[in-house]
């Protein structure tokens, strides 16, 4: 991978607690030697946060569609007609 992608990978290992993540002391040392590492790490954390929100939004959209279909299947059509006769 290109060095820029390797850097994303390195930060990801730390943020997602990958088994290959550096020990805390080593990571701290890296941050001391690389002045932009802390800023890049914070930015990447924000990306993950945004992605999780986007994922949640997409999931909700999909679920709502599925739930409307389930409702129609269970309570639409002749079930709705029966319920009008015998409300539960």
């Amino acid at each position: 991978m290109r060095p820029a992608l390797e850097r994303l990978h390195l930060i990801e290992q730390q943020l997602l607690n990958d088994p290959a993540a550096l020990p805390a002391a080593d990571w701290h040392l890296r941050q001391l030697l690389d002045s932009e590492l802390a800023t890049d790490t914070a930015a990447q954390q924000q990306l993950y946060h945004g992605l999780r929100r986007a994922g949640r939004q997409q999931l909700r959209h999909e679920l709502r569609h599925e739930l409307r279909q389930i409702h129609a299947r269970l309570y639409g059509g002749h079930w709705a007609w029966l319920r009008r006769l015998w409300p539960m």
Binding site: L5, L47, H49, G50, A54, G55, L63, L74, M88
Partner: protein, 196 residues
């Protein structure tokens, strides 16, 4: 002869079994929950002056919240799943009644914003919404990123689904997509900073 030793494993916790059922066949598990819990929610809502449509909205909101908790591993069941689900729906309906008492002309909103109160955000709100830029690296990139970072699909599965030759290719592609997303966000942030 000594009696044979039998080891009985404890049954899986109900929330764990439910999570497995939702992941294995979401539609079937949701249909079952719907059938078990919706009639009680409809009775509750209609007894308190709500319509059948209100009951449907409240129940579906509750089921979305319930699903996220169950799949995210945050659900702790001390009663049956349907009892818990009715409890969430009751809470949401009470909340809605109080809201209507303040703003009587409005009905339940259609968007997801009103669900936000159900879910404490672990991380603070980003300075600007990454959410707005997730579409920019392209549809395929968005799918790869969400599959990995939100739906937690293994890279092997992502590779097959998106036609990458190997896990390695999928990994490289995922980081390229992440890089593009970061570039979009940075460009937007720079533009905003210059505007001010």
């Amino acid at each position: 002869m000594p009696a044979p030793i039998t080891i009985s494993l404890p049954p899986a916790p109900p929330a764990h079994a439910l999570r497995q059922a939702l992941l294995a066949d979401r539609e079937r598990a949701l249909t079952r929950l719907y059938r078990q819990a919706f009639p009680a929610v409809r009775r509750l809502v209609q007894r308190q002056g709500g319509s059948a449509h209100d009951a449907q909205d409240v129940f579906q909101d509750a089921l979305v919240v319930f699903y996220e908790q169950a799949v995210g591993g945050a659900l702790v069941l001390t009663a049956s799943a349907s009892t818990y689900l009715v409890g969430i729906a009751r809470h949401r309906w009470q909340h809605e009644l109080r809201r209507r008492a303040r703003l009587p002309a409005e009905t339940l909103p259609d968007d997801d914003a009103h669900l936000a109160a159900e879910e404490p955000e672990a991380a603070p709100e980003p300075a600007f919404a990454v959410l707005d830029y997730v579409e920019r690296p392209g549809a395929k990139c968005k799918e790869v990123l969400l599959s990995f970072y939100y739906f937690q699909q293994p890279l092997a599965q992502i590779a097959v689904a998106h036609g990458y030759r190997s896990v390695r290719s999928a990994t490289v592609q995922k980081f390229k997509c992440l890089e593009r997303l970061r570039a979009s966000v940075r460009a937007a942030f720079r533009a905003e900073t210059i505007e001010y």
